[in-house]
């Protein structure tokens, strides 16, 4: 009897221990081992940081060469004072890891195609996409470049040592809560991981193309009509370097291959799937106004990069100070240096160039073994790269990727991510080329004048960025549309190109000094908002066409009328919700709407639209009515054309339709490409407005007609956990507004820097300094960001260590 009781009780104990010590899979959800996860001494409770936590510490690391102090202000922004630069980067690595370890590693896993290791087979296609794009291949090349250069080698080595010092000191109970939830542990940091992170940014910013979709559209409509549906530029265009600028004769001329018409433009080829791409609205605003337009007489520089809105934030704010260096701004957890910010002499910021630097070539292989491909009249050996993809809960997968003269074969018979096609497509991507972008930021952090800035940005090859600059001492302002861009002939790379010989290869790069730029222009400001960098009619190199025109237009309109500008004016401009696209489009609705055809309900919404002032403010109902009205109108216009074929095609951009209709209200361009002749603009507008009204009524019944509620902006946790995200934020703006906050995307860091004798800078980002969801510093800036409030950025001096703003001090030594 006792033996039985003993056995039963032992069995229950063992069963409890066993079940609480293992992961459970319920449906597509995975529960972490509950025992350790719930233990208040080991599990998630340990991540519940006391709201009055003390961050004072005294730390010793043999990797440091001297003493250093880090002062945290009331927003937990660290001000690092080190005795030399390498120590500063060591400490930066330590702090990034201390406050953002899970995020920086997770982003690197994402870049390297290693997500299956964490969440199992459902991420295999995602991982294979990264591997086949050559993300790891590209990072390995970048790492070599970084390590060839003394400055960046020392910088990265110190940074990596700093990250690893933190990881080494980390107890299991102190692991960020996401490690506990997903049940894995951090690896050691390496310089390759920093390179991988930078390639992650290259994918986000220089990975966008629609080559497959456009190949299909060109086949369906022919090149002439294709150019009408997907125009290269809009009439309203106000390029970064204004129209009327004269460009010198190009140093490099490129020629289209002789077979262009037969084998490329006139080719009736099609692709049955689309490539994986980054968010189409990755973009930004930046501008600098010269002293003659400001109240202080000194320049003001502004920047707000638009990226996916995530928690923990992509950015970590800090000041790095060492002899010869004093820079403040936002850094990337995973990389050394300040990326967007200012130093004692100047300020700098970026917007994305939007240039197409990712093209596809259709390859001909001898057989399915893919060992040889046809190139320049002979069979050429393929090189293979073996990608080992670890998969949680099952054996690793080895993906064999063929490399050609163009680059990796991204899609082939063995892999098309479940999409159907038999073709072989090699990708030529600029991010595969050797370059060392960290030197650009290193140079900017140290820049004293325009010449330093220019030297620095030359290191920026990919992703191409529009670098804005303002100098305190000389008062110079400047902008360069910088990057190493392939010089292309018209239409090159807009469609899938033949890969059987060298005639369709990129022929060279646009010489750096021919990149569009502007220094101290007469108009007193420089600006960019991802629009075309130059007037394509005047600029001697082909620029392609995937540039949003309207934010640039409205920024320039405001700036040209502003004088006596103060930093507060600039904050107001950065958070401006005026919708210039609506200003152009709404008159069409008012003019061509057939009012008699509208129901009572339709008339109600028409009246809201009529009285709307084109502002996408939170409480505006007109903004929602317009968004829906436009959406239905555009669908109605393109629907028949784009459903002509079953092949994937891209939705034309809004500016293309709007400006075509403005120019040609008879809709000849639509009829030409197949819309039934009898449909007039009036029919289309009225018909689509009726449909929009039905949807609007439903939205109103749900109480979501106000723009802020309809748009419903959120800042999402990187692992897509709602509980760790901030939902339903009251913020206006939207796609065509300067305040480009859409539902999950928008201004990821707003910065205004007035270069008066003592710099006055302001900034805010939608996140917080801590990556820990259990910390009060996790999302402490989000509400300020949503309502357009800024914080004063304090460039602390070494002598201010007694300042009342300092809350904590970490002392570092060796």
């Amino acid at each position: 009897m006792r033996i039985l009781s003993f056995s039963v009780s032992l069995l229950i104990t063992v069963f409890l221990l066993f079940s609480l010590n293992r992961e459970w899979h319920i449906g597509d959800k995975t529960l972490p081992p509950i025992g350790s996860f719930m233990s208040p001494q080991q599990g998630f409770w340990q991540n519940a940081e006391p709201v009055d936590a003390n961050f004072n510490e005294n730390l010793k690391f043999p990797g440091l060469s001297g003493k250093a102090n880090v002062y945290f202000d009331e927003r937990m922004v660290p001000h690092v004072f080190a005795s030399n630069e390498n120590d500063a980067y060591f400490i930066q690595g330590y702090l990034h890891a201390k406050f953002r370890l899970w995020q920086m590693e997770f982003e690197v896993y994402a870049a390297a195609g290693r997500i299956s290791e964490l969440i199992g087979p459902k991420a295999i296609n995602y991982d294979r996409d990264r591997r086949r794009l050559g993300m790891v291949y590209a990072a390995e090349i970048a790492e070599k470049e970084m390590e060839k250069n003394e400055t960046t080698k020392a910088q990265c080595d110190s940074y990596t040592a700093g990250v690893n010092s933190y990881i080494a000191s980390l107890k299991e109970s102190e692991l960020p809560v996401e490690y506990k939830l997903l049940n894995y542990k951090p690896e050691k940091w390496t310089n390759l991981k920093t390179a991988l992170f930078l390639k992650y940014m290259s994918f986000e910013l220089a990975g966008y193309e629609q080559d497959f979709e456009h190949t299909n559209a060109k086949t369906a409509f022919g090149l002439l009509d294709f150019a009408k549906i997907y125009p290269l530029a809009q009439d309203s265009l106000d390029p970064i370097v204004p129209k009327g600028t004269v460009y010198p004769k190009p140093a490099l001329t490129v020629t289209a291959p002789a077979s262009e018409d037969s084998l490329y433009l006139g080719m009736k080829d099609s692709v049955h799937f689309v490539s994986d791409k980054p968010h189409p609205e990755n973009g930004s605003n930046n501008w600098a106004v010269s002293g003659k337009k400001t109240k202080s007489g000194k320049p003001i520089l502004c920047n707000d990069p638009h990226l996916g809105l995530n928690l923990p934030s992509l950015w970590y704010e800090m000041q790095l100070s060492a002899p010869g260096l004093n820079a403040y701004g936002v850094s990337f957890p995973a990389a050394p240096g300040i990326i967007i910010g200012f130093n004692d002499s100047c300020a700098f910021g970026v917007t994305n160039s939007e240039r197409d630097v990712r093209d596809y070539y259709k390859m001909k292989f001898r057989d399915e073994s893919m060992k040889e491909y046809w190139f320049n009249g002979e069979w050429k050996q393929t090189e293979f790269r073996y990608e080992h993809i670890g998969v949680k809960g099952q054996a690793e997968i080895i993906d064999t990727v063929a490399y050609t003269v163009f680059g990796p074969v991204m899609y082939d018979k063995k892999y098309n991510a479940g999409r159907t096609d038999g073709g072989y497509y090699a990708v030529r991507w600029k991010a595969h080329d050797p370059s060392n972008e960290l030197m650009a930021f290193n140079g900017l952090d140290h820049a004293k004048n325009y010449e330093d800035y220019l030297e620095a940005i030359k290191w920026m090859h990919t992703p191409g960025q529009n670098f804005v600059f303002a100098s305190k001492n000389s008062g110079d302002i400047a902008i360069w549309a910088q990057g190493e861009f392939p010089a292309k002939w018209k239409w090159q790379g807009d469609f899938v190109m033949p890969g059987i010989d060298s005639s369709y290869m990129w022929q060279g790069n646009i010489p750096q000094n021919e990149n569009p730029h502007q220094i101290n222009p007469e108009r007193g400001f420089v600006s960019s908002a991802n629009q075309l960098p130059a007037d394509p009619a005047a600029y001697p190199y082909y620029l392609g066409g995937s540039y949003p025109p309207y934010r640039g237009l409205i920024i320039n309109r405001y700036l040209s009328h502003m004088n006596d500008i103060t930093p507060e004016d600039m904050m107001k401009l950065q958070t401006e919700n005026y919708n210039v696209f609506a200003e152009m489009a709404v008159p069409l609705f008012l003019k061509y709407m057939n009012l008699d055809s509208l129901s009572e309900q339709g008339k109600k919404y028409f009246d809201i639209l009529k009285s709307w002032d084109f502002r996408n403010d939170v409480q505006e109902k007109g903004a929602t009515v317009f968004a829906l009205a436009w959406q239905y109108f555009a669908n109605q216009c393109w629907h028949e054309d784009l459903s002509k074929s079953k092949l994937p095609m891209a939705n034309p951009v809004a500016s293309a339709l709007l400006e075509a209709v403005i120019n040609d209200s008879s809709l000849k361009f639509l009829h030409d490409i197949g819309t039934p002749e009898k449909e007039t603009l009036q029919d289309l507008l009225s018909g689509s407005f009726k449909k929009a009204s039905d949807t609007l009524q439903k939205i109103e019944d749900q109480g979501r007609l106000e723009w802020g509620k309809y748009k419903d902006t959120k800042v999402t946790h990187l692992a897509k956990l709602d509980a760790f995200s901030r939902l339903h934020l009251p913020i206006g703006g939207g796609t065509h507004c300067i305040n480009a906050a859409t539902s999950d995307h928008g201004p990821s860091w707003r910065m205004v820097v007035s270069l008066t004798d003592s710099t006055q800078a302001y900034g805010v980002y939608p996140g917080g300094q801590s990556g820990n969801p259990g910390s009060i510093y996790y999302d402490s800036f989000v509400d300020s960001w949503a309502i357009g409030k800024y914080y004063l950025l304090w460039m602390m001096k070494g002598t201010e260590s007694g300042d009342s703003r300092i809350k904590f001090k970490m002392e570092f030594g060796n």
Partner: protein, 117 residues
């Protein structure tokens, strides 16, 4: 009664100390040890282990949660669909520790009885 309270407190203390260095399941070892050292009727051993860990994990979680203003527990309760209730999460935490320690203590008490027979 004194025996029962000592066993309970000892289980708590030993589990807490072990938890500083050892994995979470050290609470089972602590509970077994205590029930072997302090022999009681099996149901009493079970209860002392159960209550010992219920109190230890419950109080620890409650204390951490209070200092954290429930920031994290609210989020975790949402993830585990506990209706945003921090209290429920603390209760579940306490129960998990209690069950493991309770059954471990019960097993321990039978070891003693087996030896005696």
């Amino acid at each position: 009664m004194i025996k029962f309270v000592s066993a309970l407190l000892l289980t708590s203390l030993l589990s807490f100390a072990a938890g500083l260095y050892l994995p979470w399941w050290s609470i089972a070892i602590a509970a077994i040890l205590v029930s072997v050292i302090i022999p009681m009727a099996p149901w009493k051993s079970f209860l002392s282990g159960f209550l010992g860990l219920f109190l230890l994990w419950g109080i620890l979680a409650f204390w951490i949660d209070a200092k954290n203003n429930s920031i994290l527990s609210q989020k975790m309760a949402q993830i585990f669909q506990l209706g945003n209730s921090s209290m429920l999460l603390i209760l579940i935490t306490a129960l998990i520790g209690a069950l493991v320690a309770g059954f471990a203590a019960l097993t321990g008490s039978y070891i003693k009885l087996l030896k005696r027979s």
